[in-house]
Subunit: 190 residues, 2 copies
């Protein structure tokens, strides 16, 4: 019994990367042969990779990324869904803290958008986040003192504050309810 002819098993990410390489190459109107020349790879290697068989090294990916003139991470990032999404603002019980996850994108660096509504005269500890997370506060209505415990800021409508979300932080409201949009940008997906 002869062993199978082609290559060896296929990892799922290999297939995705292969498809993406072929897509990008064809978008640029480049032939596989020409791209192999530009990238300094053999046609054989490229053919195998595009077919989804194989398991490229980062050196190989780097060469391909340069030939395609795209960042190497793009070859591995999954495409974000681009369909329109609409989230209607909800009514809340007055006196209650309201946290609403408006949107989460987990391709590449993960991104979360929250809407936070806090009643008057309330102090709220910030939920600690993964290391490297950056938290952005965008004040819609109300006055609030917020930020890292060692460097808080007084914020008014229209202000923006960005700080490390993994350090201890808090929000404290004044005489009015506040409406804040919080954007978490994280290099780590949790």
């Amino acid at each position: 019994m002869t062993p199978p002819s082609g290559r060896r098993p296929v990892s799922s990410t290999a297939a995705a990367v292969g498809a993406k390489i072929r897509l990008r190459r064809q978008q640029r109107g480049m032939s596989a042969a020409e791209m192999a020349r530009r990238a300094g790879l053999s046609k054989a290697t490229l053919s195998q990779l595009e077919a989804g068989n194989g398991n490229p090294t980062i050196d190989t990916l780097d060469a391909i990324a340069i030939a395609l003139r795209i960042p190497i991470a793009d070859l591995l990032a999954r495409d974000a869904d681009t369909g329109p999404v609409f989230r209607q603002g909800t009514d809340i019980e007055p006196g209650e803290v309201s946290r609403e996850l408006l949107r989460r994108i987990s391709s590449g660096n993960s991104l979360e958008i929250w809407r936070l509504r806090i009643p008057p005269e309330t102090e709220l500890p910030g939920v600690p986040h993964a290391t490297g997370t950056i938290e952005h506060l965008l004040i819609a209505t109300g006055h609030v003192t917020a930020g890292p415990v060692d460097a808080p800021q007084d914020l008014r409508p229209g202000d923006m504050l960005a700080f490390a979300g993994d350090a201890p932080h808090f929000y404290r409201t004044g005489a009015e309810e506040v409406d804040i949009t919080v954007v978490f940008a994280s290099p780590i997906s949790t």
Copy 2:
């Protein structure tokens, strides 16, 4: 004459990836030995990679990414800056459209946060963005009709709309001035 002992040359991206792996692992408080176990790799391989010597395959990177519970593309993307930033809301001329860039993170995937203030009864064409960019509208005050030209939405304070920022889109205000936060998330840097 004995050939050199260690591994072979080092590509610059290999060094960057190695450093990032070590950083993330230490952030998680994991030993190299334990991580090797979790990822199903040998300690030897991991040691070489973290030292910046070597040239991992995507299967290897995938195993590492899973063990670290991060997307594989993050191992190749560059880090964002994490310093605290405060941006005070500015006053504007009434009757003028105001565009303010509050924040930009230009790592592998770019993130931009804008504050947009549009006077009453104004129609504003959307600036077209790079392919794959997702645009998020967060309405702070006022009513606005906005979105892709073929599928606009009526938005009120607290609403959120996300759509493909590379397609034609627009904003149209009603009787009052509107204050919008716009978040651009682009998985692809161009």
